[in-house]
């Protein structure tokens, strides 16, 4: 453990900062040290997910249905989200307005690298299963 992280943990122990603040500081320290290039790790210390998988399989009563097997590297998701930070403010406002009109009140200007990392780390626990005409599974591995 490096000196900065130790100091942050000491500040938490002394109740000088909250756990949320410490989490942000630790993320910032990790970013600064270039640790974000390695796969994110979850709370248990095991390596975080590397891929986002989307599987669509036809149900047994409809064997001729569509099939989808997509594996998207989370680094690509990360790079794509970072690319969004280069969108000019005027364009961001337009995108936000359009998304709000479509029922997705999502503000791109509030998206920062720490949020992206937190989102990707917690994707490890994500599993979406939908069964209907087709069986859809979204998960990370």
């Amino acid at each position: 453990m490096n000196e900065e992280k130790r100091k942050i943990l000491e500040m938490v122990a002394d109740k000088k900062i909250s756990v949320d603040e410490a989490e942000k500081l630790l993320a910032a320290v990790s970013d600064y040290a270039g640790e974000t290039t390695t796969p994110a790790r979850d709370g248990a210390g095991k390596p975080g997910p590397k891929y986002l998988r989307v599987l669509v399989e036809p149900s047994p009563d409809n064997p001729g249905g569509d099939r989808v097997n997509v594996r998207v590297p989370l680094n690509l998701v990360r790079a794509g989200l970072k690319f969004a930070s280069y969108i000019p403010d005027q364009a961001k406002d337009k995108i936000n307005k359009e998304m709000k009109e479509k029922g997705v009140p999502f503000d791109l200007s509030h998206f920062n690298p720490q949020d992206v990392e937190a989102l990707l780390v917690h994707l490890n626990d994500l599993t979406v299963e939908v069964e209907g005409k087709e069986k859809v599974r979204v998960f990370c591995e």
Binding site: K50, Y51, G64, G65, D66, R67, V68, N69, V70, R71, V72, P73, N75, L76, R78, A79, G80, K82, F83, Y86
Partner: protein, 93 residues
Amino acid sequence: MIPLMLWIRVKEEGKRGLALPIPLFLVWMLVGALLLLLLPLVLLAALLSWPWGWGLVLLKIYFHIFVMLGSMSGLKLDISSRENGKITRIVMQ
């Protein structure tokens, strides 16, 4: 490894299928060459727009394209769809 090949297969029941391989590695090579050709223009545009604060953004966007290409490592698509007895399959890996 970034995806190097893309296959598009179309098969109609009772007919001969069509398989179209697209060598993505050639596409990436073309994209790389195009990006290198664009580099002097990007540098010039960055230099000219530097006083307005756009220069650094332009350079970051340019280098981020390489990051995006590199991040495609491990990307895999396999989509198969059946419509009116026609099966279309797209595989990229």
